[in-house]
Homo-oligomer: 419 residues x 2
């Protein structure tokens, strides 16, 4: 029998729209990969009666219930009480969990208030899912033919708790596997990509091919179901190869986390160093590069030159370029990259300058006018961008940083710089 | 009577985790602002039987049902069929909608396939919600004492369709308003905050007080319901005042978007400039500061000194400090802030140095060991942090940047620097 799963999220903040239910998304992805069928997502607030009704319904229709949220120390955290009641279990005090909570507070040098020990009350006979990423432990039990798994709500805890605690528990329950590969692309729109694949997608059933767009990037997920991972991989490979061939140098990797990850790896492999000079992206390029663990082996540093003064004095951009062409120009983008390469003493430097909005700049450049540049020992190249006036500031900045990264990726792969 | 709302999203892509349910978040925010109570979010896949059951349940418990998704031309788009059936309505062909679909395809120069005209089949007697942002029209009707509103799933259509089509329809149904204020705190844990408020929270009904924690910050949302906004404000004010008094200088603002926003405003008000020198935060401080529109009036720039070489050569951190105390030390944090103040020519400079993980640094400093510093004309101050080894890299970096911002906030407000 194939298992059916309901994800039940408890939290008024979800119903007020303060946050999106990213836990449900993350869990759904992970559960699908295990070959488990997620049939329902349900969200209720911190209301005991509606939570009870939701649990009763989930118990009647799903054979795995995964809850998120409502495990913390505050009085509106009611998940454990309601689940224990629905399955006729008492909550009992777990000294091991209490110890971990006390030492967590000792480690962060904070006084622990008594309400924190509520988190050590757990359903009798459950498997405790130790929380190494926060204070509230999770738990799992089987009762009345249903598996119940409770996970904390904060995404920074829910994600690792699923990965390292719930997943191993669930692995033993799943039959067959779903395997997938994700082909990552930059420099092509989702609809263009989709148009080239549409006929094929419609005729495929195993593997399947699904396009996604995010933040100016695209990805294609190829997914196959089979009895074993090996069989699934055999189904996947021809499609992955074909897609890579079809999109050529727009593909920057398969199953890689990000463009910046690919760059850091390529730099490390080749023993090269990178630096940045940022105006409109304001530190985002450096931030994204240093999101990659181990970035320090390749990324030397960056200059955020948000004013002309810093462009001149730190990056040594000649004053006449700023006067003649303005800060948002291909000449200044090139001089910034060259300046960063000199100042930071790195092999490759990337720069950005442009108008992220909300308003035009003082030279009358429209929002979305951007220049990114790369300086290397082989010379300097500038890419001019018109990203349009519609996207929000955050998105314009992200896309601009990605275009600069694309220049670095192309240089490091020996490709031409493209348009 | 106060209306209760269920948001019912139809789409297998949500259950596979391909996308997060951001429609539900956006709608929840908008509905709360209208004084409507969202009590349930439900997601089901493109499965007629489970969709029917979900609609029957929603009909039995909510008096407003808002659906998202399942209105498009592909064969798995079943929302209209299921809703029409549940409320005993036929679907009828609407020539006006068909015209709009045909001209949409003419405009984008694509051939229209016949399945697109399915989108012009609408429940008899409904109010058609014209879709100016895509092809599938939405619709609204009242039947069996329940209001039903169907909106398209793509967020770029769902958002304007709610704003310009559903919202006006709903405005006539809502009674009274819900108003809220959010008190933002830094430097206090959620459980400590909640312990000080618990007795009070339990006795309050209007206004209510709800704590939230995110990324090392806390907020308290005070919410009141009343017939008019003015009455709601009168209910809110005493609680806001009391909470501000209770938490003193841990409160950094009310209804402000972020700590960085507060700093940029304070700098602009006082005509002062800011710069940054970042090691462990790797550009995140600059990135967050430049997320604030208008930051350029106060933020001059930053140096990301990810290597000792850049600390020495760009920030002029004396080599003997790096040798004697190591890069992760209060001495180097201070020298970085002072160096940034000099190099960038700004009034106030912030710095960060520490170990964001995943591993200890070469000097044996544990993950989570962080120093942030502020340099001003009145001197330099360093705050040492032990953020624990457990949080993820991203979270450690965010918290460290926030601590640096807290120093700037305190300096600009004439407060002491705290612990």
């Amino acid at each position: 029998m194939s298992h059916t799963v309901e994800i039940l999220s408890v939290g008024t903040e979800l119903l007020l729209g303060n946050i999106a239910n990213t836990d449900a998304q993350m869990l759904s992805q992970g559960l699908s990969e295990l070959g488990l069928n997620v049939f329902w997502h349900t969200v209720v607030g911190d209301n005991p009666q509606r939570a009870r009704e939701a649990v009763a319904l989930a118990k009647s229709r799903a054979d795995i219930i995964i809850t998120t949220g409502g495990l913390g120390p505050t009085c509106d955290d009611l998940t454990k009480n309601v689940l224990a009641e629905a399955f006729g279990k008492r909550l009992v005090f777990d000294e091991g969990s209490a110890q971990r909570i006390r030492s967590y507070f000792a480690r962060i040098n904070r006084t622990m208030t008594d309400n924190n020990l509520q988190q050590a009350m757990l359903p009798e006979g459950c498997t405790i899912l130790v929380n190494d990423w926060g204070t509230a432990p999770g738990c799992a039990f089987e009762a009345d033919g249903v598996h119940v798994i409770m996970l904390p709500g904060p995404p920074s805890e829910c994600r690792p708790m699923f990965q390292y605690r719930a997943r191993p528990y669930l692995l033993s329950l799943s039959e067959g596997v779903i395997a997938s590969h994700t082909v990552k692309l930059f420099g092509i729109g989702e609809s263009t990509m989709e148009a080239q694949l549409r006929d094929q997608m419609n005729t495929m059933s195993n593997p399947t091919l699904a396009p996604y767009a995010k933040e100016g990037e695209c990805e294609l997920r190829v997914t196959a179901k089979a009895a074993t991972d090996e069989e699934a991989q055999t189904l996947l490979q021809p499609t992955v190869t074909q897609v890579k061939k079809l999109f050529g140098d727009k593909v920057y990797g398969v199953d890689v986390p990000s463009l910046e990850y690919v760059i850091i790896q390529a730099l490390r492999d080749r023993g090269l160093t990178l630096g940045t000079a940022e105006s409109c992206t304001g530190g985002l390029m450096a931030k994204r590069l240093t999101d990659v663990p181990g970035a320090s082996a390749a990324f030397k540093g960056g200059i955020v030159s948000y004013t002309n003064e810093v462009k001149e004095q730190v990056l040594r951009v000649p004053e006449h370029l700023l006067t003649q062409f303005g800060a948002v120009s291909k000449e200044v983008a090139a001089a910034m990259a060259e300046g960063a390469r000199r100042t930071l003493g790195c092999d490759i430097a990337l720069s950005s300058t442009g108008v992220a909005g909300p308003d035009r700049d003082e030279d009358g450049n429209e929002v979305g006018t951007m220049f990114v540049a790369i300086a290397t020992r082989d010379g300097t190249h500038v890419r001019a961008l018109r990203l349009g006036t519609r996207p929000m500031r955050e998105r314009l900045r992200t896309q601009t940083a990605s275009h600069a990264f694309d220049l670095a990726r192309r240089y490091l792969s020996g490709l031409d710089y493209g348009e």
